[in-house]
Assembly symmetry: C2
Homo-oligomer: 321 residues x 2
């Protein structure tokens, strides 16, 4: 009988889950809407229902190692989701216990970027590394720091918020209530903001004709490839901000590699070349030629599920069970 | 028979050592000049000689747990000091092995700030903490990050260079060859540079009459206390830079406390108040009221020896010997 870990990724609009073998094979997957009309109890009831139906379809051919959950505002130590505005859940929700008890399995919880880091370590482009950094570059910027083979959770379970390092004091307003956070510049949203600022300052661009909805990361990439100067400069500026921030983070944890994941990577060299250039230009001499920038090995639809399942595989791997 | 660890702090001008019991009692100490006319072999011969004389005076009443060495450019994993311009040693010097073999004891090596972090954890103001950050604020800025009870060494043994996080792209030139590193602003040297910049810009100050040698951290503090506006603003600016950098570091490792150590602390509230204020103003909401800024509990002449001995106590504590 083969063994699987259940990986669950709770997102703001959709929750996905899958049953993942130790080699990263996802033998079954499913999803449900993270319906903001439901409170946490209602959501967990629907999630458990979907998981049980999926388990029934598996037909008892697999034993379950445990459950790993990636979710926003997740506290690893307590297994709780705390004050998550994106999910519409108020207060502190003991999600790991609710899901674990519901299934009669052990469950563990962290944020999606931390889970993604473990996914890279077990199944992706950080295999064999015990010191690395995973950075997600999507709507926002998330990060998971692995030090000495273990995720850095900090004293409170909330460590690894590279997206909220302030890179420009007094700069762009951030959803966190402060100004100048990295994620206001070095995310897909930040890229689009850079273009919008250029347009507001009267820059000519093929992007000026697009409505607010159509002006997204893909449109900026397409425009840059078609020779639009503003779009090209927006990628340069985004890469420059990120490269410096990564060089600064490297000075703290000295990783063997930094793995990049998420929407911005779709732009390929257009984004990666200025990022690498700024990273290398700003790296302390001591670290030069030692730290590799890599693109995620899991950049597919199962990436989040694999990350969440990796959390369970890692958490429950050495306890003799 | 009581047991001691030997702590050795190798500085640019002076090397100090001591024999330290597990409770932090330093039962004997000594020092020698780190004579830059000597190469590493010559220095180690003198150091071993001094250590043996000191051991003879102890008279065999103590067993030795091991040797801990704090030194610049130290690689923990290899026990080497690598390309240390301050010591005048070229290339890679296997200092831990040379000292360990010379004494017939186990020896371990890291940089002075990492050793200081372990000193705080075993003997100082980080006792009981498994996630904290130690920052030394002297001529430069050093740091040691403790995560989950273990020092962060990184993949290469050189992690924890908070002083070389770039806080002002294109800013002040740094000894590392780059520009805008934290230590060019938030050290005693940085404080004095801020005053000098003010004087060059024509600011009136009681400090303008001092020669280059006399214009030091103490003079700036005395001037600030006597009502000098430029001196007072220099402390404000120094604290503001440091507070922001500490808030950014906290977003990465989420420590329970940040322990501050070194020359800038001599200015007391003059320096601490603006530092705390900027730290709290720039801290991500998630971490507010969770992270304490503390002053070192080891800010005496034995601090560096205690830190180096703590490295040995920590390294050799759980190996059954």
């Amino acid at each position: 009988m083969s063994e699987v870990a259940i990986g669950i990724d709770v997102g703001g609009t959709t929750t996905t889950f899958g049953f993942v073998e130790r080699d990263g094979t996802c033998v079954q997957r499913g999803s449900l809407r993270t319906d903001v009309r439901l409170d946490a109890e209602g959501f967990v009831a629907e999630l458990l229902d979907a998981l049980r139906r999926s388990l029934d379809r598996l037909g008892g051919a697999h034993s379950i190692r445990g459950v790993g959950i990636g979710a926003p505002n997740a506290n690893y130590f307590n297994g709780t989701v705390e004050n998550a505005p994106n999910l519409g859940w108020e207060g502190v929700v003991p999600l790991a216990r609710m899901v674990g008890d519901g299934l009669g399995e052990r469950a563990v919880l962290t944020n999606d970027a931390n889970a993604a880091a473990l996914g890279e370590m077990l199944f992706g482009n950080a295999r064999g590394l015990s010191d690395f950094l995973l950075v997600t570059l999507g709507t926002g910027v998330g990060s998971g720091f692995v030090v000495g083979g273990r995720l850095v959770y900090g004293h409170d379970g909330f460590a690894g918020e590279l997206g909220h390092v302030i890179v420009e004091p007094g700069g762009r307003s951030c959803g966190c209530g402060r100004r100048g956070c990295l994620e206001t510049y070095a995310s897909v949203t930040g890229l689009v903001r850079t273009v919008r600022e250029g347009l507001r300052h009267g820059r000519r661009s093929s992007l000026s004709s697009l409505g607010p909805e159509a002006l997204d990361g893909r449109a900026v990439h397409d425009a840059a490839e078609a020779g639009d100067a503003l779009a090209a400069e927006a990628f340069e500026a985004t890469g420059a901000r990120l490269g410096l921030a990564l060089a600064n983070a490297a000075a703290i944890t000295s990783p063997a590699a930094i793995v990049l994941f998420g929407g911005l990577l779709a732009a390929g060299p257009r984004f990666l070349v200025p990022t690498k250039s700024a990273f290398e230009a700003n790296l302390l001499n001591l670290y030069c030629d030692k730290i590799e920038l890599r693109v995620s090995g899991l950049d597919g639809p199962d990436a989040a599920i694999l990350g969440a399942s990796a959390l369970a595989w890692k958490e429950f791997e050495d306890d003799g069970s």
